[in-house]
Symmetry: C2
Subunit: 362 residues, 2 copies
């Protein structure tokens, strides 16, 4: 039998995150491992009078693709995939990896080629602004988190608030709480972040703070903006490893001058870190400052969809900023790194404490 | 690990049935249960330089759809589904039901509405003439066949000849053998079929015999034509139950006059049989005479993809004929029913025996 919480998550995504209406066409995408959730999403779309359009692929499709594809195949994007993205009124995408190391040995250049070829599709999806990304619990994710699947499921559904009596009410509360934080931050020029081995200032003058409350990510729970690209000064030590493309960069420390990284070190995979920072001009500047507000997420699970929302943490991403924040940094990368303020850290806006030891003063 | 025979079946379908070439776009469709085969099909398409385009849906998608959908939803067909069918150079469809009774309680009218709505899509696929249908073994199919999954897998892969050293060579041999049968039948006016409680004559004058050797069905193995619609005279007792829409019509007997069914009986579901024959004018006339040639299929498994090809059987379908045979019968239905000639039956063309006791005289 399907976990009842799967049905509740589907209900939340269709009725709250996407607010599907009669006649809406809803693309439901994900791998085979996500099937129980995909099926329930289809059911909820039908109940709202909408039209589910499934776009599933085999769990190991990407692995086989990279193993076999020649350059012309790496660059291929079907016209009908674009047509489907354009036809859809909403796009629900579920990640559900069965092995988070499946692409560990794929040449980064190949991945970049594929990402570039698929950018028009990604742009079409993002510009529609009617997408939601979520995760269906798998053994692979549980393993990365150092948990049993049973425990990881509890973790995921708690983070999404679907274990609450009224999940929608919970997300509306979260939205209101985050709005209070934004009211404290709005108009402030200087942000000051202090934590172990961390003392960083940056300017957010003229930038917009966004409230992220479950429309595009589930779970959600953050407020974010794009700092002034030339403003970062000082040093930061990230609390958790940065996991990307099957690599783990451990104990990242960055030093900024005039907004630019001038020194970078890591305990593990330092060379990879430095290569990433040299991707392009924007890769060594900050593109995002995010403040996590989800206290349903208490531990680091090596999955950015959850980790960046840890209540009491902040994340500072090098690379591309989000246009809607007014951020102007351009880059091919966007690399989120998390600094936990729960043990002796604080964040100030124009000299006034907004969050200390992981608790907000709003 | 994937059954090696799954890879061999994928290889046969991509390299022989479809003959995929560099740059071809290949739609690969099926439910989750077919995943191992779908993945291998994708791999083979990539190896030929083609582009796999997956179109999977959850195993229970149809069941949930019928349970929830209102009329406007039953009638919905996404434009992008048509676009994808038109873009594809080849279409590979894999059936893999996890419960062949999943739609048993769905009102026939609902199913008709859906079939009608999706007809443009089906027509687009059929008119392209670049499709292949196959089956991936499931517990549900094995159960219908009265076998273990292990035994049913052996049965399926033997029927598809992928247990042979060179499956392509086997299918080329089958094609040549069938061509011999067609040479015997070509130009004949009258077909006479005799078996227990069966004595039927029909005219195939001016009609074309088609050789079916693995392009559109896998397994395959039949030659077929469309009889003259007004020609059938006599009676036939079908050997095996007719299974459709979750119903089993047992021991069907039909009597023809002037090509039309004038008497119909069945031991079980006789009323359903009679309703089907009254669907429209063409539903009570023969649309196809097929002659099974696949001696890898020795037993009835309640699945028409296999049963109609039983070496030594013939099938006579009421309803729609295939245009390419010159058959002119029109109907919303096409109902294959099988008469086994292996025990005392025979088939004559213009008075000369073509097949007797299940063996061809060619």
């Amino acid at each position: 039998m399907t976990d009842l919480r799967t049905s509740r998550l589907a209900h939340l995504l269709v009725n709250y995150s996407r607010n599907v209406k009669r006649g809406h066409k809803v693309m439901i995408g994900g791998p085979t491992a996500a099937e129980p959730l995909l099926l329930e999403l289809g059911r909820e779309v039908l109940r709202r009078g909408g039209h589910p359009m499934y776009r599933m692929s085999p769990d190991r499709a990407a692995e086989v693709f990279y193993a076999e594809a020649k350059p012309a195949q790496l660059r291929f994007l079907p016209d009908s995939a674009m047509a489907a993205a354009k036809e859809a009124d909403h796009i629900l995408r579920v990640i559900a990896e069965t092995n988070t190391q499946a692409l560990a040995d794929v040449a980064p250049k190949k991945q970049t080629t594929v990402q570039k070829a698929r950018r028009p599709l990604q742009d079409a999806v993002l510009s529609k602004n009617a997408w939601t990304l979520t995760l269906y619990p798998t053994e692979a994710y549980a393993q990365d988190a150092g948990m049993s699947l049973e425990a990881f499921e509890d973790f995921v559904y708690a983070a999404c608030r679907v274990d609450a009596e009224d999940p929608v009410a919970e997300w509306k509360k979260a939205k209101a709480f985050q709005q209070k934080i934004i009211r404290r931050l709005r108009g402030a020029d200087e942000i000051h972040i202090v934590a172990p081995d961390t003392d960083l200032t940056l300017s957010v003058k003229g930038r917009t703070w966004k409230n992220s409350f479950g429309s595009h990510n589930m779970p959600d729970g953050e407020v974010f903006t794009g700092p002034v690209e030339t403003s970062a000064e000082g040093e930061i030590r990230y609390t958790y490893p940065v996991c990307t493309r099957g690599k783990e960069v451990v104990d990242v420390r960055l030093e900024f001058e005039g907004g630019r990284v001038v020194r970078a070190s890591a305990e593990k995979n330092e060379a990879f870190l430095k290569t990433m920072l040299r991707t392009d001009e924007g890769a060594s500047r900050l593109g995002e400052l995010g403040i996590g507000t989800n206290y349903g997420i208490q531990r680091f699970v090596k999955n950015i969809l959850f980790d960046e929302k840890i209540g009491g943490s902040v994340h500072l991403a090098v690379g591309r900023s989000y246009e809607e924040t007014g951020g102007k940094n351009k880059s091919a990368i966007h690399w989120d790194m998390i600094c936990d303020l729960r043990r002796g850290g604080y964040l100030e806006a124009d000299g006034k404490v907004v969050q200390a030891d992981g608790r907000f003063r709003v």
